[in-house]
């Protein structure tokens, strides 16, 4: 479905991605993990069209994305829930959701989608006339996901949706991601919360310092020693006794 | 250490930064010799040519070099895009005119124009430098307009030189004052760039936060640039007051002076020593040429040129020269090689 081939990206003179290649198949959950500053957000933004790659190709069902404007990428069904949520805070919950269905494709079914999204997030229905800025962190994340769903995504990309949220809410959000997948939406998920993400993932990639350094099925990586040490908080016994 | 960080931030963009280094190269003698030649020629003009028109034109070029260069010191070097330059020019003109026509020895009245502008600049500098970027620009524009309106309300009458002064009017003298002032301003800008402050000033332009973080006294460096800038802008105003037979005092406060300084500097090349010089020559010559036939057209031409420079050609004439030069040299080499072959 999504095919990324040797993508490089940079901010001015500072290169952030080097030869990144990655594939997402239809109706998979693919997880991307990596330390802070690895370039995960950069990769998401590059796919979404907010950032132009220096070189390489990004194909979606065989057609090029890396030359297309971000709003047209949305029209094709690739929707990013950005890092930090990026809600329209001065606008109401309902307006945020309506704006999510701005493309021609999504607008036609806007009311129907809205009902569906409010079913998934009943809390948002209750607060539909409140300003987005008045929501709690967890509710804001739900609104961000809801807004993306309003655009009828075929590939939904989430950039650290659990960031800064309480464990209970994180669990809820992961359940929602799973149910979204079960509705037939393909998911590309960036997470710091590697354990939960890998449990959910069909496949995963590890990005470090702008390069893909490993890939495998979710359960393979969960049981890989290096991954456990680096991302799941298991330090080897010797190291622990030393510190 | 700081030097390295700052140098990296400034990168290759700054022509002024690279020229001192270029001087140490083998053909360094060419620049100074050429410069001395131009200065000598400029000094000899009144002796060689005795057309008042030409002298007047050269006077205007010198005045505008000063005007542009003084704005460039603040906006081009320190990155503070002021739209209030007319205030300094106007204050300079007002002070010199008033003192001089009331009997003060001209050189003293002239010097005081610069100092008065500096005094005013230091007064407004501390509060306005809290504003960043465009806010600084519109804030300074507001200040200059307040001054202009106040002056036009209080001094509505035209100021005319006494008859005796008009009878003894000497354009050559005025031209020499203008030439000396322009050269001094250029010299001051060049000295500033070679001084130990230049790094701090350029760092403030490139990235204020980073400069602050590396320990640069941001406000201090801005004030220093403003000090020098306003001093020469004030003197330019003083020169204007010395040259004009009659004018409305508020005319020296007109935002047109700011706008001309902007045009000159951008056309020539913002942030370079040569920019305002080339810009002023180009500006005055084109204006004079077009003013004869089509009064408004030169402004339209400058407007279009200005937009193009901001959008696609940020280096101005100096940048164009720099970009073309390598190609020109390469071509010259190629043709010479071919000469050898044949």
């Amino acid at each position: 479905m999504l095919h990324i081939e040797k993508v490089a990206a940079a901010y001015g003179d500072v290169q952030a991605l080097w030869d990144v290649s990655l594939d997402v198949q239809v109706n998979e959950i693919v997880v991307l993990i990596g330390p802070n500053g690895a370039g995960k957000t950069t990769l998401m933004r590059t796919i979404a069209g907010l950032h132009r790659p220096r070189s390489g190709r990004i194909l979606f069902e065989g057609t090029a994305l890396h030359t297309v404007a971000a709003h047209q990428i949305v029209e094709r069904g690739i929707i990013l829930v950005p890092e930090g949520r990026r809600l329209f805070e001065g606008m109401t919950v309902l307006e945020n959701l309506q704006l999510g269905a701005y493309t021609r494709r999504a607008k036609q079914q806007r009311d129907k989608t809205l009902r569906h999204v409010l079913d998934i997030f009943p809390l948002l229905a209750e607060r539909r006339h409140d300003r987005a800025s008045s929501l709690s962190g967890g509710q804001q994340q739900m609104l961000a996901i809801g807004r993306a769903l309003m655009g009828l995504p075929r590939l939904l990309m989430l950039d650290e949706p659990s960031l800064g949220l309480a464990p209970l809410i994180v669990r809820h959000i992961f359940e929602i991601v799973k149910s979204i997948k079960e509705e037939g939406v393909t998911v590309l998920l960036v997470e710091q919360n590697a354990r939960r993400a890998l449990e959910l993932a069909h496949r995963a990639y590890i990005l470090e310092q702008g390069r893909i350094v490993g890939t495998g099925s979710g359960s393979d990586l969960l049981h890989n020693d290096e991954v456990r040490e680096a991302y799941l908080g298991y330090a080897p016994v010797t190291a622990r006794t030393l510190t | 250490m700081m030097r390295r960080i700052v140098m990296r931030r400034i990168g290759m963009r700054d022509v002024a930064m690279t020229s001192p280094a270029a001087l140490t190269r083998s053909r360094a003698w060419r620049g100074p010799v050429l410069m001395a030649g131009v200065i000598a020629l400029a000094a000899l003009v009144p002796v060689l040519i005795d057309k008042q028109d030409t002298l007047n034109l050269l006077f205007l070029i010198c005045l505008h070099i000063t005007l542009g260069q003084s704005w460039n010191i603040l906006a081009g070097f320190a990155g503070q895009t002021s739209l209030g330059h007319a205030a300094f020019f106007g204050i300079g003109a007002l002070v010199t005119r008033t003192l001089w026509l009331n009997g003060m020895f001209f050189p003293v009245a002239f010097l005081l124009s610069g100092l008065a502008a500096v005094a005013f600049a230091m007064l407004i500098g501390v509060p306005t430098f809290r504003l960043r970027g465009a806010y600084f620009a519109i804030g300074t524009l507001g200040i200059a307009e307040v001054l202009r309106i106040t002056v036009s309300q209080n001094l509505p009458l035209i100021s005319t030189m006494p008859a005796a002064e008009i009878a003894a009017y000497n354009l050559t003298l005025r031209y020499y004052v203008a030439l000396a002032l322009a050269l001094t301003t250029i010299g001051a800008a060049a000295l500033l760039l070679r001084s130990s402050w230049s790094l701090g000033i350029l760092a403030v332009r490139e990235d204020e936060e980073a400069a602050q973080a590396t320990g640069v006294n941001v406000l201090g460096h801005k004030l220093l640039a403003l000090f020098i800038s306003s001093f020469f802008a004030g003197l330019a105003g003083g020169l204007f007051a010395f040259q004009q037979i009659s004018y409305y005092p508020s005319a020296a406060f007109s935002p047109v002076w700011t706008f001309d300084a902007l045009l000159i500097t951008f056309i020539g090349g913002l942030g370079t020593i040569g920019g305002p010089v080339l810009g002023a020559i180009f500006f005055i010559l084109v204006r004079q040429r077009l003013a004869v036939t089509l009064v408004e057209v030169h402004q339209i031409v400058f407007g279009i040129l200005f937009i193009l420079i901001v959008l696609v050609f940020p280096g101005g004439l100096m940048g164009a020269w720099d970009r073309l030069r390598p190609r020109a040299i390469a071509e010259a080499l190629r043709s010479r090689r071919q000469l050898h072959k044949s």
Partner: protein, 290 residues
């Protein structure tokens, strides 16, 4: 005194319309268009010429003037401002200011060539007439001007709040990247926004040509008025610029009573400077909105 205050409000309505146009481009696009006063001047000329050549009442000719300025706005965005769209934040504001300075030169001198430097006023037949209410004269031209200003603001408010395009404009103003990620064509929104701002300048210009006069040189003064108002309102606020415009009109009226008529311009500028230095978020704006 009451007469002065009423006149202050009439003038303030025009300030408000002029300022809302400037605030639109600034708030949504980060474009500081100091050629806004020149757009206003062109609006004034359009209504002046339609009246003096074809005899069309200036309040009727708005239906020509508004689309004309809208088109000019579209064109300027395409030709010029589109090219700074890639820049962000401070750099964009500064470059747009510089570019619009070039536009000032062009538009002002084109106007001199086309219309000469003379001052013009649209002299409608009912220019001196009006209602007298408790001893306060209310000329028809001024009353109509205020009504048109109010209707314009109401229409703009409804457009921004109720329509999809209006919501897209507000969303883009808040976060253009999030807007793109919602499928909003941000360059198109910018174009629409700038054109709307120009159309508002056209309305303001028409009102100026009827109630005072237009000349090629009036641009800077009107840009400054609009800037003062935008700063008073707080730079994040679009519709809020309208009440701030009324306020400026009022303050000017009061200052010509209590200080001196010749300093009314200065008073506005001084307030502008104080607000800029002390409360950069504007008199009414909250800190986070700025």
């Amino acid at each position: 005194m009451a007469q002065n205050i009423v006149y202050g409000l009439f003038v303030g309505g025009i300030y408000g319309i002029a300022a809302v146009g400037l605030a639109l481009a600034f708030g949504v696009m980060n474009v500081l268009n100091i050629a806004h006063g020149e757009l206003l001047m062109f609006g004034g000329y359009i209504s002046f010429w339609l009246f003096s050549l074809l005899g069309i009442d200036p309040f009727v000719s708005l239906i020509i003037c508004i689309p004309a300025l809208f088109l000019i706005g579209l064109l300027l965005d395409r030709l010029v401002y589109r090219h700074v769209a890639r820049l962000r934040g401070e750099a964009k504001i500064k470059n747009s200011l510089l570019i619009s300075f070039g536009l000032v030169l062009i538009l002002q001198n084109v106007a001199i060539r086309l219309f000469t430097a003379d001052e013009r006023t649209t002299q409608v037949s009912y220019i001196g007439q009006g209602i007298n209410l408790f001893g306060i004269a209310l000329p028809y031209t001024r009353l109509m001007g205020l009504v048109i200003a109010l209707v314009t603001i109401l229409a703009l408010h409804l457009f921004l709040q109720r329509t999809d395009s209006g919501k897209a404009i507000r969303a883009t103003a808040e976060d253009w990247e999030a807007a793109e990620l919602s499928g909003i064509n941000v360059p198109r929104v910018y174009m629409l926004t700038f054109a709307l701002g120009a159309a508002l300048a056209g309305i303001a210009g028409t009102l100026v040509s009827v109630t005072s006069s237009v000349a090629p040189s009036i641009g800077l003064d009107w840009t400054l008025k609009a800037l003062i108002v935008v700063v008073l309102a707080g730079t994040g606020s679009i519709i809020g610029a309208f009440p701030a415009g009324l306020l400026l009109g009022l303050v000017e009226a009061l200052s010509s009573i209590f200080i001196s008529a010749s300093y009314r311009e200065v008073v506005g500028l001084v307030i502008f400077l104080l607000v800029l230095l002390i409360r950069p978020q504007g008199l009414f704006g909250s800190r986070e909105a700025a």
